[in-house]
Symmetry: C2
Subunit: 282 residues, 2 copies
């Protein structure tokens, strides 16, 4: 495995490999890797085959954090990340620096303006702009044929797909399933923030998804009614505080009036000070 920090070196290598006809598969991450990330890498390897180039980036992108969010304390473990990537068969670990990614007079905006208004976009107003700009940059630097994103960030994946469609990036977007702990908690680097007590309450997000799924299996329910039911359930955990619970069309992200099987549910819940998200098709 090669570790590359320079944007120019990474792009040069990618251009050369493409010229040689080698497929490139890419997994962009913010590091502090867990089994969820490893499952994305396995999916990416499948996409580019054993002879392709598997590139993983580790970059905690400042522009996707709000001014009061956890950029500074976001967990970082570069040595462990490198060891995990090596073990996972990654060919290139790309670790750019903030200074190279964002010049002092950086002045480009890349933004999705429909799908990004609700849910995460409503709670974190500049988040998806930061995501769009960094992913556009990484796509142009790594020049992948395929890129793999995790389904935990459902809205992010929808926005990336839209960006690829509307800006014509020649890249296949693959969304890999959520990887869960035994008790249903979705893997996330932020799970590290949870105290032992909070960790016991955190599976309430998964329980909420299962409960909603069962509730609408027989007959569709009005959105407000289902939301109330789910919010009450979450409130049963003393450390939990709902940010949003939403039910929507998985393509357009438009809220569903009646929620039935096939609708998508997503939620964000604070467990103590830690904000967790999860989602599922009902």
């Amino acid at each position: 495995m090669r570790v590359i920090a320079s944007i120019a070196a990474m792009q040069r290598l990618a251009l050369k490999r493409r010229e040689e006809g080698q497929a490139i598969a890419f997994v962009p991450t913010m590091g502090f890797l867990h089994e969820g990330h490893l499952s994305l890498m396995a999916r990416a390897r499948k996409a580019c085959s054993a002879r392709g180039l598997l590139v993983v980036s580790v970059y905690v992108n400042p522009t996707q954090f709000g001014p009061k969010e956890d950029f500074a304390k976001y967990p970082r473990a570069p040595a462990r990340d490198a060891a995990l990537c090596r073990k996972a068969g990654v060919d290139i670990l790309f670790t750019p620096s903030d200074g190279e990614m964002y010049a002092a007079d950086f002045s480009m905006r890349v933004a999705e303006e429909r799908l990004s208004k609700s849910m995460e976009g409503a709670s974190r107003p500049t988040h998806f702009q930061g995501v769009a700009v960094v992913v556009a940059k990484l796509f142009n630097i790594v020049l992948p044929d395929a890129a793999v994103f995790g389904a935990k960030d459902f809205q992010q994946a929808a926005i990336i797909r839209r960006m690829v469609r509307d800006l014509n990036f020649p890249i296949e977007i693959i969304v890999a399933p959520i990887f869960r702990e035994a008790d249903g908690l979705a893997m996330s680097s932020r799970n590290k923030y949870l105290s032992a007590e909070e960790r016991l309450q955190a599976p309430i997000l998964f329980v909420a998804l299962q409960t909603a799924k069962n509730a609408v299996a027989k007959k569709p329910l009005p959105r407000a009614q289902l939301r109330q039911k789910i919010e009450r359930l979450i409130a049963s955990q003393p450390a939990a505080c709902v940010d949003y619970v939403e039910f929507f069309d998985p393509q357009t992200l438009e809220p569903a009036a009646k929620v039935g099987p096939g609708a998508q549910m997503a939620l964000a819940v604070r467990i103590g000070k830690t904000r967790l998200i999860d989602n599922a098709e009902l």
Copy 2:
């Protein structure tokens, strides 16, 4: 020469040619081609060599016209454009349709937010957003190694360079010199709008550039003083009405306090109903 209208076909071909190691040079245009465009094509051919692929796009991009601008009546001559391209040795003429370029639910914004505020950006508030988004799309579809833009649109070229730098497009941007009529009028598809009487007055833009150049050759002048002098000169032509006259740093586009040799001058002038632009290094 092949004419391709389908985005997917153009991108497939570009990917294949890159895989084969063939260089691609690209000239994006809005058609109604003139000798200025032909000089860009010659420059692009030089960039990709005889064995490279020279791609010219003709696309009158609706998103870069304001609601009261001349999108509907912008001159179009597809058959003549194709003949000129063939004669110029173009390999691929790419002519996408509005429907393919912009889906009904298109929702991406690409915008430069510093260099685009003054001059053309001030007079045409949504213009450069339209330019940025269409150029980003065309870059991802045509996948060129080099792209050639005309120096007449000085601010546009600066914004494209910034977009390429900030979003890391692996593309060399070449800015080719302004091509002028014998009397100094910069070539433009919009010159076609001019009446015979207006055509005689239109070289006042070039005269203004020359006059400013001579005025500051001996010693720098305060910006306001130089602007007043130039605006008076332009007012000597009865059909002429100044939109802006600006003096600025060619890198940052920041207005110069004192204008001397090396400063850039740009101006927009209406001749009757036709808005013309021009610029020069002083």
